[in-house]
Amino acid sequence: MTHPQQSGAPPATPTMPDAPARATAGGGRSAAVSQDPPGPRRRTAFAEGADRLRAAATTEPGRLRVIGAVLALLVIAFGAVTAWQMTDRSNAADDVLHSSQPLSAGAADIYRSLADANTTASSGFLAGGQEPRATTERYDRDIRTAAAGLVTAAASTEPGSPSAATITKLNKLLPEYKGLIERARANNRQGFPVGGAYLRTANEVMQKQMLPAAQDLYTKENERLRSDYADATPYPWFAIALGVLALVALGLTQRRNYRRTNRLLNRGLVAATAASAIVLLWTVVGHSVARAGLNASYDHGVRSLNVLHDARIASLNARGNENLTLVSRGAETKQLPDGTVEDAYDYAFQQDMKTLSAGLAKAVTLADDQTGRAPVTAATGNMKVWQQRHKQARTADDDGNYQAALNKIIGSAADQPTGECFDSVDANLAKALGHEEGEFQHRAGDGRNAIAGLPVGAAVLAVLAASGALLGIGRRLSEYR
């Protein structure tokens, strides 16, 4: 800042900072300063400060004052930077725990509900014009969950962001999908095969547009989660460096003090050193613990959750395609690269089963304890039975025994239907997901708690340390009076 209205006396109006400098050092130097040629109206604060320092450094009290100021500044800076950096990390860890992970789980829930609704719709369809009540209820619940999930997701999304566009798209498609399903049901009730065509159209909307959009949303929420992790886990190097610097400065001061006075201890300085050391130690240890907890929550929680979610979706899609194979056998075919032609839905079923199988295998390797592994292993067993029974159902259908095939898919327990296997896979995956969710909460919570009080603690301790340093230096200064 300059003072444009400086018309007064050329002997540069003695500014405030000059006064104490002259008072302490006195003499010609400061006179020389004030009698500078009128050109540069004022010297820079840095130059003035440097001069002042140089002047102060000529006497011991002056030197002490400078040392005291530097120490206090260093310690305060250390405390402030620590509080700032750890607040960032603590907030990010908080977001992981309370915002981005729940949102990611919410997106996974939308994804699952949609896939489940589609699967349930086809199951109900298979059962005939009069759908079983349980199926209708499950379908309605899925649609409600998805709709509610979309509202939650929308609330935490920036307007105009790609996520918002995806949510808009899903909101537009959901009623469209429901309309097609209702048309399918109405036609099925009347025994019209066009109901099956509507079901296939609805399935197409779900598979080709809605599920990819839901997956997209899920991926985006996962990216947000990942970025929160990235914000929470890096070491606060700046704070640590300042802490080390403050401790070294405090150490050097005490060594100087000892050399000059032969006094071993200066209480103020010792207190400052101890407080600074505590802050530094707390930062390093706390952050290491937090980091370990968060990394573990990612490795053992989030990664498992992602794999399990994907497996669950694959299982749902497989079930839907299995139903559609029976609803619309022969309505659509797919030509494979080797020239063979397969029923489009049976082919899709096989692909989904491959995805499920791979997902479960990965989930077993990711599961880090028996509780986590058991349901996944059980689900793998269910899946194998499912594949066997599916083969039996297909054989029955290919032999022209539709009723046997139908019983094998949606029949009662006595028929040993694949529906049983699917339900078991789903239940076991839900159990595994619950366990991994708990694992995540537990570890991420531990991690976050490790640095919970750190920002405030660092600030308070830094103030204490700075006061200690000033008091310690003050005590030495008082000896010169």
Binding site: F125, G128, G129, Q130, R183, N187, N188, R189, Q190, G191, F192, P193, V194, G195, G196, A197, Y198, R200, T201, S328, R329, G330, A331, E332, T333, V341, D343, A344, D397, D398, D399, G400, N401, Y402, Q403, L406
Partner: protein, 334 residues
């Protein structure tokens, strides 16, 4: 005496001569007809050229009337194919399960039995061959799997609204026709569409991918038999999906076999068949080329079926949408 013998021998030679000349004429006709017609009803293009050549090469076995080439009916059951079926105890038939009134599963009937016009015929064949109309196993097969299923022996026969064509005759054998149909327009009753004519200008038409209807429409658009403003770009995997498109308002009309169009009309009281069929096609029962005895036996079944069961089945499944007069659907008797 001499004069009389001369006259008799002349008569004999004359008969032979007449037969010869008829044969020559028939062969020439069969050979030349596709040539004279080729430029008229098919646009230049590798596909149609190939078709013309194939027809020419096959002129001795397949002409303009592939439906007339099935062997004579016979009640003989000593042939290998019929014996195999009898020993097995059931007939294996490829059918559709999504064609209302032809071959479909009523979701509201317990047991989910297939029913329809095609299914009735399959039951009748089983009844005559094996003495039990239910001695039949149905296989729901996709449209494009009809021929592979026969060739691989997965099914004995396919009764699935399958049109008899020369191309298909190269791969499988057909029975005598059991139904006459043709490509037809299906549109909402309230629409201004009157048939396969100028009223389709500016309209969107739906056809099934790779169907006869799709080929015919593409051809006719090239030949300007169809207005240039007619949009025929909507194709779907299954003809039934066209009804979905129509009900959703995505298209204005559907072109498919009249028989299948009738099946669609039966599922939606607001649409109807418009105008007359603009092609003539016949459905036949497809069987393995090697099973000549089975083909002849099925032809015998059809001879009887046309007399009695056919009309009953028609009245039950098709008269509501195709009209009570079945004359145009009745196949020519062989």
């Amino acid at each position: 005496m001499i004069a009389r013998r001369l006259r008799a021998s002349l008569k004999g030679w004359g008969g032979v001569g007449a037969m010869l000349s008829v044969c020559v004429l028939a062969v020439a006709f069969a050979l030349l007809l596709p040539l004279t017609h080729a430029p008229v009803d098919s646009a230049p293009g590798s596909g149609s050229t190939r078709l013309a050549e194939a027809t020419q090469a096959k002129a001795d076995t397949c002409g303009r009337h592939p439906e007339q080439l099935s062997p004579q009916p016979s009640g003989d059951e000593s042939g290998p194919a019929v014996t195999a079926v009898k020993q097995r105890g059931y007939l294996s038939v490829g059918v559709d399960q999504n064609s209302y009134r032809w071959g479909y599963r009523d979701p509201n009937s317990s047991g989910g039995d297939l029913e329809g016009f095609d299914i009735d015929l399959a039951h009748e064949i089983a009844r005559q061959l094996l003495g039990d109309p239910n001695a039949v196993r149905f296989h729901a097969i996709p449209t494009n799997q009809r021929i592979p299923a026969i060739k691989s022996g997965q099914v004995d026969m396919v009764v699935r609204t399958m049109t008899i064509t020369c191309d298909r005759l190269k791969e499988v054998a057909f029975s005598d026709p059991y139904f006459a149909t043709g490509q037809q327009v299906l549109a909402p009753k309230a629409s201004g569409i009157t048939g396969y004519d100028a009223s389709l200008a500016g309209k969107k038409i739906c056809t099934a991918e790779g169907s006869t209807a799709n080929t015919a429409l593409t051809q006719d658009k090239k030949n300007h038999k169809l207005a240039a403003s007619t949009d025929i770009s909507t194709t779907v995997p299954n003809q039934l999906d066209c009804l979905v498109e129509l009900q959703l308002g995505e298209v204005d009309a559907i072109v498919t076999d009249g028989a299948l169009a009738a099946s669609q009309a039966a599922q939606d009281p607001t649409v109807e068949l418009k105008g007359k069929p603009f092609t003539t096609e016949y459905y036949g029962v497809a069987m393995n080329k090697g099973a000549g005895d089975l083909v002849r036996r099925v032809n015998q079944v059809l001879v009887d079926y046309r007399k009695s069961g056919w009309q009953t089945s028609y009245d039950k499944w098709l008269s509501p949408t195709l009209g009570t007069d079945s004359a145009s659907s009745r196949p020519p008797s062989s």
